[in-house]
Amino acid sequence: MKKSLILALFFGFLTNTAFASNEVWNYEITAKKLDNSRNNLSPKTGSSSFSFDQKDIENLPQGEATPLNQLLLRAPSVVTNSQNQVHVRGDHSNLQYRINDVMLPEGVNGFGQSLDTHFAKSVDFLTGAMPAQYGLRTAGVVDIKTKSGASLKGGRSEVTVGGNNMLRLNQQLGGAKGNLDYYVNTTYMQNSRGIESTTAARNSNHNDTSQDNVFGYFSYIIDASKRLSFIVSNATNRFEIPNNPNQEAAYSLTNATSDSNYLNQKQKESSRFAVASLQGVSDSDVDYQISLFTRYSDLQFNPDHDGDLIFNGIASSLDRSSFANGIQSDFSYELNNKNTLRTGFYASNDEVKSYSENWVFDLDDAGNQISTDASRIDEKGIKNSQLYSAYLQNEWKATDKLTINYGGRFDMSRSYVNEWQLSPRFGAVYDLSKATKIHAGYSRYFTPPPTSAISETTRSKFANTSNASESEKNNKVKAERTHYFDLGISHKATKNLTLALDGYYKQVKNLLDEHQFGNSLIYTPFNYQRGKAYGLEFKADYQENDFGAYLNLATQRAYGKNIVSGQYIHDSEELSYIADNYVTLDHVQNYTASIGSSYVLQGIKLSADALFGSGLRTGDNNKNTMPSYWTINASVARDFVIPAAGKINMRLSMLNLLDEVYQYSNGSGIGISASQFAQRRTIYLIASKSF
């Protein structure tokens, strides 16, 4: 009886219970890869965008091993300079780096790269009149999307050997474990050409560098609507400073002699940052990303005590650090089919500490050395600065063809000078036809000076010493305020060919520029009271199966007038001329071009590109121009199957193939203090293996 009841219960449940199918149905949502030719107009931002996806990066002559600043040179209006600097559309720096949509706080700028291209899945480079969500550093936004464990699925090892005693090891690991996705990238590099050489010689003198970089990305899916991610990074770069041979001694030091061939100046730079982000979609359909970030960076410069005193009259040990912490949040909400609201805020605190131990000679009123014993002057500073920003913008699809992006932004900087600005933004993209888009935009920009670069110095301490400046005036550096106008057209000429033309004009108050002061290797910001910049860019991009090619041509001008801060770093003749005249900024090249192509032929990838620069400014008041140059780079790569090791990709990469000898600077001009020669022909062998 009991048994039959149990059986009855069992079958009874079966007859009426939910039936669970064992079969899992598969569906596929297929989307066409964004028609992202390298150059495009983004309706989302209304600005010019230049994209490097994984394939574009691999097609560069050095592939993933391309330093990030070299990668950016393949975008229009990007100018290279010595010490790994890049300048965009006439700005000295003013670049914003974003990783997975989180803006990295600035660190102490040095020569080295704190970001490694290896970990980039894609790099979007935005310029022009950008919407309100982008602020503070606006000459260009380098938007990096990192690789993830899911995209790497295993690991990748890479070894580079070659010219200038290059040894570079890179290891990437990634995978997914349940809801956790992890990706780690480590790179170690050493070579004998860390920065530009002071001579044209193939082998640079005293220019060794060793650099290590560790990057990790960890993402955890909390549930279907929330994801928590962590980014951590540590970069340490050590440089020897190249010697400038055959210099005449300028001062005498008791019981010491020195040869400028054998000085021993060194610089060490560290940068560490961590970002924790919570990304999700709320029940009310609001997308959000809230991020906490921290960054510590420091730079130490060790002089050659005797040599620096004898040749330059000053030996400075510098130690500068920046510790920045902050929060960034971004929200977006689709009001309806036509309107998408975006809002967000940003707040950060940056504590900058600087210490310098300066040895100098005492001079008489006529500038003659009165003692061969050096005296010591210490300077110490600590400064806390804050940045606060908030924005609100709407992306309005006014018609099927017209998208308007409008909004405003509030930025406030509390530093040596307390300043704020309300900045309206407006951008529109209109589809003239299926193949042709035009865009126009206006942005008001507010760019605070980089606090970590400001030198707190009391110039009167150095009066009547070998480090005295002609002017003791040192007004405080202010934020740059810009009216930015941008107009462009993009046309898809054929299925594979995209052409674009873009023009811009900037009218600037308190134009920020940076200047290398004396022998110090830290750049110091200063303001021109007025500035203006304008330029025109032409971009062409062709993609077809195994063949890809691009061409960028740009012309640009940037001028400044009347230096109103940091005057002590300029000589009085310069100050007086610039007070009444516009001068061309030293980091501008009137014409630049980049052209490149890649082709896969029977499993062999052939890549080549060329970079042209019409020359940086030089001479008194930057009136002259350095000679123009072409650099041609090429690579050949293919997979080899080696019995014990499996499939290995070998790449022969040749930089400056024609061995062009050219100088960025000849040691004159505003803000330039040493001759700087570019890298001669260099050949690397790059072996990589994915597993």
Binding site: E23, V24, A31, L34, K44, D181, A224, F323
Partner: protein, 166 residues
Amino acid sequence: MNNLCSFLLASLIHALLFAALFFSFAKETKIPSVSVINIINYNQVAQEKKSSKHYDLKQQKNQKETFLHFHEKSAQDLHDAVSKKVEPIYNPLPQIPDDLRQEAFESSAVARFYIASDGKVSKVDLIKPCANPRLNYLLLKSLKNWKFASSSIDSTQEIRVNFSVQ
């Protein structure tokens, strides 16, 4: 203070990296990306069935006959259910927005439908979401609108959606 903070930050970085290395070198156990769950919750069903007209313990007059009747009917229904699968008659899927195409590349999600006997979706869960919350949101929004052919029983059905960007 800065040195201390720097040290702590560096320690955190290294701890996370070691954790990552540990995960990557730990013995990999292949877990199927889709786990089909076919568990019947007997307790819950028992509660629901207390009022069933086919099974009313209070009206047991001829338990033997009832049992046999049940047995035959159960087997028949189950056979019918297995042989007649639920079929979607309206199955919209979301479009991948432009700005998510990169992230959608090669990702997938597994969803489970709870389907009422009239073919309506009573509930849908993402039992294995993809990595992007917005994609999950869009997917769920579409799946909630699915409709199935009516059947004699409630049922569950799992689907895997692969996002492919070509």
